[in-house]
Symmetry: D2
């Protein structure tokens, strides 16, 4: 499976082409739109979010809502760009790079002192395409009872103490949350922290936990290092703007524990088959899924654009100045969670197809059933 | 640039082919061998390490020590495998998967109850090929004054308090260390912790910090998510066996800080050009190198094989049993650091060639000089 | 550089995303549209061509007509699809596979007896995206004085006897041709052959010759087989629907000649540098451009859809029947030539960037100049 | 599946790593060696062939002759290189590029006037690795009754008139041939032509036909142009040194025929299922296998090195001179056929795995059976 995304912040569309997606999968645009809505929501978002009423338009790859096996192209119109004065062509040059953005590094790379030419693509607006892709992949995975859910574990150091045990609990406990947070008392403190930051023109980040259920053992591979499931998850999750850390299972906590308190012993019962009493590995051993839920976390840095601007330099005059102040979020942790779910869905779909073949959903289902059946009869 | 590795733990060779490496680079086998020696060393290693006196043999891609531009093939003979009773063909079947290894997940994947067929390739022995590759890439990068050094930041929760400020300090302070640790008093406690663990038949992991100096701004890319330098580093570093966490710059600490205390303001002086007073970003903004040192960390889990074996199940009888006890390390943090340096060297070489072209070192040098010069004259 | 295309014959759009294209290249939509017009023209085309008044819309990757380095997305609206009764969703099932199309093989592959689900994507309509891509690549290549031109060498066995010697001659001699044919007396016979075929409800193919001028020596590579320029050209040109043969230089004629009459001896003059008196190799030796013009040919089979339908079978009833008769061309040799130029432009751009680096046009130009200069001073 | 090859003409080894090959396939080294022997044989070969008694050594990826799913590494020692005076390090510089070789283009590319540094890798010796790879792939394909056989269709313009109808006939009729030619009276004339050429210090090429039987319908794809089976075959076959033309089915003959005499009508009988009475398409329609035998042809140019040397130029003195005369073949058509079979086997294995999944032979077999069964029950 291959994916390419395109689109700038003030361009006409954000779009993606997903190539190699199987035939026969029913795709609901309404589900993609609901995921896009989740991407726009969350406490701490700024003014642009109200403009961004994103709706997907699938322009190829479907016939009567069913995938054809041909490349799927999704378009999301940028409402912002309709007003011609906001079109990227007309926007004035911007010569002051914003710290913690791609602006200055991009100016070096592309030899351009108008950082507008950098930030248009480096914008988080691009993640719209990834959420569409993820929402399509989720509809494939759901055919195999694979579910993905992320939640906010901490914001600005305020951490949940009550953690959901499975995806139903995640869904139930975050349903009415403004921050996709399962612990309502922690959430109150998070909101307070965000309010404080907004007042002080500051910003916050946090930690997101992703849980994936229903992945059979055997996805990913140890035979070549770049095929490992954990490495692929890290690759795609670390590609999300503002994400600066990734861990799976115990993650960094592993570095503090002894082996005897770290590893997941193996058990068997005729009813459950092979199972573990702990899941410290986060569902992946040797780069391959174990059949236990996959659990990983990512760290998001605080929003880069502050209303109390940071020091910067004008690339033309080389004079010290302040970074430009523009509308922005105080905290966008909920959006980041949706994007992380989306990237996880993409990685899993790709490796699932690698293992179980391609082309038509009915063939893949039959291959998958055979796989499960042959393993149930014990290994050969 | 492409790389493939091959080889099993008890096979005749571990090997790699590196394709797309430029012509004209002088490669010293002695340097590769010294890196292989570093991979074998460190306090807490087991019996196999004394057998593994690895020597590289470069069988293609060089003429009179200079690269030809053709694929470079490296071979490392497994001394162990010389004794025919230790050849993988003759080794007895192993039906008890070891927890925290690829054994059980691999048995599912490949439908095999003899986990010997899994562990031969899932073995950390495979990293020999990666260290050779890294040592070759380092010799390319050194032509551009790019240096990579890792050190042990913590072992089993014991953490350095004295941190080196740059690569010369890393090299100086770790020179006589048994654990690649720059803080000698922390190291004493680490050694004690390892001794304790060995006595108790337990194991330890730790945290490694990698520092890369001399990377100009502009390596990596924000224009497509899978081209980001941080994502690529995460991909390759998380592919190292036993690595379960990755962070860059402040990493997870970002999630606890406010934006105003997180982002690296931008300054300029005629002498230094653009610079920062802090490097919280770890040298990467928007997926692109900033010109500041790249700093990242990985978390290593404790060695999976314990001398006090964990619970497991026999895949034939389905009876509960204990995992096999075999010679193993108590802690292999130093080796992990060398492998992490190697993977970093590979990622950087790949993205460096992407930016500055291929084929011959002299052309690449000339392209690189032009790049630096054109940016010095300010951006166009 | 990566490219993905999407779109079905009766979908809303055909589109492409081109990723990895350098920054700083001026792109004229008018040139792309003129290439799209060439794709629609030629003697022997059917009714659909008059509907297909294709106009490109570039929705990302440009600002004020200059590329940004971010992915370029091109959209071409299918005018046909505007009439809702012609939308692919509403079109009736089609159960009779057409010989020489993907219909039956696709039905097997995707397990679908409604071949409408196959032919929507297998349609030659998809080449619209490739022509857009090629027209963009040509605008990059023209910055380096690289020119590509194809012409019709034969139609249905009628072959040009007067051949143009270079691209200016190709352009001049085909300017007023209805078949992109440089030999007006051969063209008359070709038109007659097409007229005869149309009358007899039959179809024709032909041979196209592609000539590329201005490619410096050194593009492509022999160090790994999949990097060879001739292999890449063959790959992409053979991917054009209806193309069933490819040859470079003397091609199949080589198999009949002796070596002494086949190979291009090497000469040198201070003015010309190294040169050849013949170009039997078609400008490529050992998979690498020699600096001589690149010359290759492709064979196009006759249009698959006949007005006098071929035998086929109904996939539901399994009864013998006739293939569906639908509007179609008698000969589409001119379109095929435009597509072949486009794919050649893509291959060359890709390998050019591989050699001379990426990111910004000004850097690439400077790298290219250095390359030429260093080779002029003789080899080092 | 990925493959990398390495090795120079006077290096110690030629080798390949094949990654992504399934587990559970029995691999006979003796079969690989017999393919290597075929590569060395044929009337018209030179002196080196007697030195090249190639034997493969599989150093990873197998246990007790069965593939493990881990990368397979094959090594072939260059006997030539044992004599230290023939080691590439010690060989003298060569400053006269040989026409029709990569020498001059490579000198430009890599900026090197010692063309020894080019020709060591550009040598046809590299195809040893490809033959090993193909022989491994053939052993996979034979599990699915897929057979590949090539034969010599013409040499220097002398063409077979008696053509074998299927692979058994190819095997039977070429068994005692010195040129892998099925038509013994044509072969006599070919041998005469070769003898004449040798006497006149000239060389010859020819045409090879490849036939593949047992490929089910549905391999390859039309959904994205670079997935087409015919394009992939062209890519890999055109990557063989000296191959300058490729055609499938009628190939260039298509360009001379009318549609009504070109396309393969579709028929059905309860016993045979869908079938054709002709196979002009060469077993591929729309880039997908039809289930009919795959038939393609390649054109080989005459051996580049003549004993009556061509004109060339000394890269140091820039003086006109004669190309170096070295031991070489007069005709190597049989070797080229073996390499073409090998590349075809690789392409098919890759696309077969794409369609039917990976990992273990037993899973792939079960997936394949399901596919065939579901299509037999008519399409769904």
């Amino acid at each position: 499976m291959r994916i390419l995304t395109a689109g700038e912040s003030h361009g006409e569309y954000n779009l993606a082409i997903i190539e190699g997606f199987p035939k026969g999968v029913k795709i609901e645009e309404s589900f993609i739109n609901s995921e896009l809505r989740r991407r726009m929501s969350g406490y701490g978002r700024g003014a642009r979010m109200s403009i961004e009423d994103d709706k997907v338009c699938i322009v190829s790859g479907l016939r009567n809502k069913i995938t054809l096996g041909s490349p799927i192209a999704v378009l999301v119109k940028n409402r912002d760009s309709k007003i011609s004065s906001r079109k990227k062509d007309n926007l004035p040059a911007l010569n002051v790079p914003r710290p913690s953005h791609a602006d200055l590094a991009g100016a070096f790379k592309y030899n351009d002192k108008d950082v507008r030419n950098i930030l248009e693509r480096a914008s988080a607006r691009e993640t719209v395409s990834r959420v569409c892709t993820g929402a399509i992949c989720k509809q494939f995975l759901s055919q195999f009872e694979i579910k993905i859910a992320g939640f906010t574990l901490s914001v600005g150091g305020v951490r949940c103490t009550k953690l959901p045990k499975n995806i139903s609990e995640i869904r139930r406990s975050t349903k009415n949350s403004l921050l996709n947070c399962p612990d309502s008392s922690a959430e109150k403190k998070m909101i307070k922290a965000i309010d404080n930051c907004r007042k002080n023109k500051d910003t916050l980040g946090g930690v997101i936990q992703i849980r994936i259920e229903g992945v059979s053992a055997g996805i990913g591979d140890f035979t070549h290092f770049d095929r490992r499931l954990d490495a692929r998850l890290a690759y795609y999750l670390m590609s999300i703007p503002a994400v600066k850390g990734f861990e799976i299972g115990l993650g960094f906590e592993y570095s503090r524990r002894k082996g005897s308190l770290s590893h997941d012993s193996i058990y068997y019962s005729p009813r459950k088959g092979f199972f573990r009493k702990s899941n410290n590995s986060g569902g992946i051993e040797g780069g391959v899924s174990t059949g236990e839920p996959i659990v990983c976390r990512i760290a998001m840095k605080p929003i880069a654009t502050l209303q109390k601007p940071l020091d910067s330099v004008n690339l033309c005059s080389l004079k010290q100045t302040k970074a430009v102040v523009e509308r922005s979020d105080t905290c966008a942790i909920e959006a980041c969670g949706v994007i992380a779910e989306s990237m996880s869905a993409f990685v899993l779909t790709e490796l699932f197809l690698d293992k179980f073949g391609r082309d038509s959903l009915s063939d893949i289902k039959s291959n998958y059933r055979n796989f499960l059946k042959s393993r149930k009869k014990r290994f050969s």
